[in-house]
Amino acid sequence: MLEVKNLVKKFGSKVAVNNISFKVEKGKILGVLGRNGAGKSTIFRMILNIIKQDSGIINYMDKEITDITTDEIGYLPEEGSLILQYSVYEQCVYYGALKSMSEEEVRENLIKWLERFNITQYLNMKIKDLSKGNRQKIQFIIAILHNPNLIILDEPFSGLDPISVDELKNVIIELKKEGKTIVFSSHRMDHVEMLCEDILIIDSGKEIMYGNLNEIKKSYQKQNISITGNIDIEKIKNINGVIEVTNILENNYNIKIENNNVVQDVLNEIDKKELLRFSVLDASLNDIFIDKVGKSYEE
């Protein structure tokens, strides 16, 4: 449905996007991960025709994206793009007009979505009087107001409280079930892990990893062992295949290991009487990300 091939964008001498390719099929969700300034928003902006790529192809339904096809695309920009002096209703009517919607259509859909998010009371409020989270919800409603087939969400969860995050997650899953195609970026790995089939990790404009999330996890050999108990840590650290041992709480350790074979070696070294808990975990997306990108990635 959406296909990006060899995308390149430079700002002056700096390469913002360096040869990125990916593909999203209908009814799938792609998560784009990357540190701040990695080039996520730039890719989205190029897809939406705001800025022009230096080279590469972006196809939607095997065609180039024009001002008319953008009617089928919903977009949530990273930084709020709401006019503060407008009321929620005015804003939606204006943006609806830009998507070739009549005011009736806007009204109908807007009420439906406001009810879905339980924020009907904000209909006539000025945007400047709304909280950051509520603005984000309005922004999301605007992105899906015209019933688009492709939805591009740039950091959709930023500024939301946990309950709202859950609400939004459910809506996204519903949209997916309806057959919408969704591309989104986030810095919260748990959201990505829960929603996406495919992921694309980029850093400084370059592709680090791209593919099916489960396959990526499978191919990633490293695992974690979580141990609770009074243990001689120095011994474990010397085992061949142990990468890192971190002390999380008193008598609670996290041991990073090369592969599954190391588990037995670790277990052998431990005094079983002192052991309270021992569990082997697959690497989380967060681990993979930190390992691949090389730096800690929490805001």
């Binding site: 002056g12 709401l82 005015e90």
Partner: protein
């Protein structure tokens, strides 16, 4: 794309119209147009039915010889005024007269030319009544004179009739050209008003959408060109709708007026309250109709072009006030073009080739072509060509405007951030140096601007007080002396204000160090004064040499060299005047020029290097004289004075040199051709000889010292070149806009000030 543009235009127009301010404005406009058209009629109707607001005006006339009473009654017939006659000449006090009463006391004299009248009222009398009274009085006067000299009224008419001038213009053939030209001027101001409204609205909308980053979302749905077209069209459409509404209100007002006239005005009532459209209709001919059509077309296209320019300009800014400045800029440009058009297109001059060329340029054509049509100077080829160019440029500007607009409006995000990231520490240091030195430029530039503005403006402001002060002293001081004093005050102020301005920027920390030094110096005060006198005497021969050499060079070049530019204005006839002249030429410059140049500016610039300080202050000293023939000498003298000031640490010595130099010149002038001038010359010569002696002594004394200092200097110089970026940093001074403006103004004034003064005086 079309359907999107239409839907955006529809939405924007709807939003603009369904706005409470739009409704308030329209109700106001309706009320204003109804009141404006009907006020006179209604008040006339009320008067005719003996209903009036407030009390009637009452004119009480004391007119013993019946000079004006009868005439005035005739003139005021039909107006709502009570005329009464008074038998006795009364003195009126404040409490005796009512607010609506006017007392006219006619003074009858034997001679007809002395007939006069006194008008007494509580709060003044409107000009119309005064006109009536004047008319009646002059009628009486003419009557009397005609009897005196046995002249008939016809004879007098022959005297007073103004000769008729028939204006025949051979290149221009339009009978109402003048009147139409006047009307068109009013029309142009209306256009400016419209422009201001439309452009500011566009500026506001664009910058609002840019700042809120709403544009980010907008551009995902519509191309930049489409957005630009939609925005410009919708705002213009809103305005056209408003315009049509206003016309409708005016028509409603007119209609109401005609209804009122039909039902309430009786035939014998005066018709002056009715709006007379015949004057307007008489002027309308084919030229006029074409004019309105062409103006409309040109106005629309020109506004489209200007709107796009405005949108592009405001897309480059990041706050609303800056976008507003762009509007002002555009309107001012239009104003300039309009003023230009008044020079090129007038009913009194046949158009030249330049006029035709200018009339083909878009925007300019708006002010040229319609006016030329109106006064019958246009030809068809010119109109067609300029129209085609106009339409083509609209298309072109929408195309390229869209690209520039898109670049500008998305500019906040990427490019600037990247540039900042790329900036190395070195460039940041460079930036800091640039900041610091452009600040110097600002201080110098603005102080010079202050000086120039005060120097030119203050004399004219103060000259208002010349005659009041003369009255205050009952003429004891002559007018020339007063104006001299005022000139001196303005001279003092124009130097003192910039001096204070510069002084406020002097680094106070280094000042503290100076204070400590000064305390030490205070102990050596006597020595310091001696030192100062020594420097003064040493400087005198050098100044004299410069003066002589320069006068020879300038004479050879054929430029007249005079030290005193105000010689002609000086009043040396009285003792007081002479003293004033001495103060003006010798004392004031010695104190206040030194305060500004050496006192404030040298202290300010000293921090940035002695050589730089000396050169800057000397240049400033040359500028302060605002006279090209003096400035060379002033510059050289400035160098000496600055060096002396730097050596002694205060302006005492330089003031004394300045005083001696100027005082010598003015004293010679005062005692021209008397034996005193000989004495003065001798004294001056003696001082110079003394100075030469001091120089020789000093030279011998310090020979060894100088050598040592030179060696030290060489060492420190090497260090300095290593540490600093050199002279290059001084160029940043010219990065300041006030400095550039001051430089331009100074260059112009140096060459023209002398001429301006001679013209004005």
């Amino acid at each position: 794309m079309k359907s999107k543009i239409i839907s955006v235009v529809k939405h924007t127009v709807e939003k603009n119209i369904r706005n409470k301010w739009f409704i308030v404005l329209n109700v106001l406009l309706l009320i204003v147009s109804i009141v404006a058209f009907n006020f006179n009629t209604v008040s006339n109707i009320l008067k005719n039915n003996n209903i009036s607001f407030g009390e009637k005006t009452e004119i009480i006339i004391y007119d013993e010889a019946n000079l004006i009473y009868d005439n005035l009654t005739k003139m005021l017939e039909g107006q709502d005024i009570n005329l009464t006659r008074e038998e006795n000449l009364k003195e009126y006090s404040k409490d005796e007269l009512k607010n609506n009463q006017i007392v006219v006391q006619v003074k009858n004299t034997e001679k007809a030319e002395d007939i006069s009248a006194k008008v007494i009222s509580q709060e003044g009398v409107s000009a119309t009544y005064i006109n009536y009274i004047t008319e009646a009085l002059s009628k009486a006067k003419i009557d009397r004179l005609s009897k005196e000299y046995n002249l008939t009224l016809e004879d007098i008419n022959k005297f007073t009739k103004t000769p008729n001038i028939e204006r025949v213009m051979l290149s221009v053939d339009n009978k109402d050209a003048d009147a139409k030209y006047g009307m068109q001027t009013i029309f142009n101001y209306l256009i400016f008003f419209i422009l201001l409204l439309i452009l500011s609205k566009i500026a506001n909308d664009v910058s609002q959408e840019k700042i809120s980053k709403s544009i980010e979302y907008v551009l995902t749905s519509i191309s930049a060109k489409g957005y630009l077209i939609a925005k410009v069209l919708s705002i213009n459409l809103t305005f056209i709708i408003q315009f049509i509404f206003t016309v409708v209100y005016l028509l409603i007002g007119l209609f109401l007026n005609s209804v009122l006239n039909m039902y309430f005005v009786t035939p014998n009532m005066e018709l002056n309250a009715n709006i007379d459209l015949s004057v307007l209709t008489s002027m309308i001919d084919t030229n006029m109709v074409i004019y309105f059509l062409v103006t409309f077309v040109y106005l629309i296209f020109t506004i489209l072009i200007l709107s796009v320019i405005q949108a592009v300009l405001s897309s480059k800014t990041t706050n609303i006030s800056e976008a507003g400045n762009a509007t002002i800029l555009l309107v001012v440009i239009n104003l300039i073009v309009y003023i230009l058009s008044t020079f090129f297109v007038t009913p009194l001059k046949a158009p030249t080739a330049i006029t035709y060329i200018l009339s083909c340029i878009p925007i300019v054509s708006m002010y040229f072509v319609p006016t030329m049509i109106l006064i019958g100077q246009a030809n068809i080829i010119q109109v067609v060509i300029s129209t085609i160019i106009l339409i083509v440029s609209v298309v072109v500007i929408f195309k390229y405007g869209a690209i520039w607009f898109k670049n500008g409006v998305l500019d906040y995000s990427n490019k600037k951030k990247d540039k900042k990231q790329e900036e190395t520490i070195d460039t940041q240091k460079q930036e800091l140096i640039k900041r610091e030195y452009s600040k110097i430029g600002y201080v110098i530039g603005f102080s010079v601007l202050l000086f120039i503005v005060l120097q030119i403006g203050l004399p004219y402001i103060l000259s208002i007080f010349t005659s009041p002060i003369n009255n205050l002293f009952n003429g004891k001081i002559s007018l020339t002396n007063i104006s001299t004093i005022l000139r001196q005050i303005s001279f003092i102020l124009s130097l003192l204000v910039p001096a204070l301005f510069v002084y406020s920027y002097v680094d106070k920390k280094s000042e503290d160090n100076l204070k400590q030094k000064k305390q030490i110096e205070k102990l050596n005060k006597k020595i310091n004064i001696k030192e100062s006198i020594k420097y003064v005497l040493m400087a005198l021969p050098i100044v004299a040499i410069i003066q002589i050499v320069l006068s020879i060079i300038l004479e050879k070049l054929g430029l007249d060299y005079e030290i005193l530019n105000t010689v002609d204005i000086l009043n040396l006839n009285s003792n007081f005047g002479t003293i004033l002249a001495f103060i003006e030429i010798a004392v004031l410059p010695a104190i206040f020029e030194e305060l500004y140049v050496r006192g404030a500016m040298l202290k300010f610039t000293k921090k940035y290097g002695a050589k730089f300080a000396i050169i800057t202050t000397s240049l400033l000293f040359a500028i302060v004289h605002l006279n090209i023939s003096q400035s060379v000498f002033a510059f050289l003298m400035g160098i000496i004075l600055s060096i002396v000031t730097l050596k002694t640490g205060n302006i005492l010595a330089s003031s004394m040199i300045h005083l001696l130099n100027n005082g010598y010149a003015i004293l010679l002038m005062i005692f021209e051709n008397s034996s005193m001038s000989y004495v003065i010359n001798v004294i001056y010569l003696l001082l110079i000889i003394l100075g030469v002696l001091f120089i020789i002594i000093d030279f011998i004394k310090n020979k060894e010292k100088i050598k040592k200092i030179k060696n030290i200097n060489k060492k420190t110089k090497a260090k300095i070149t290593k540490n600093e970026t050199g002279i290059k940093k001084y160029r940043y001074i010219a990065y300041d806009y006030t400095f550039i403006l001051a430089c331009i103004l100074c260059t112009i004034l140096l060459f023209t000030m002398q001429r301006i003064i001679t013209i004005l005086s």
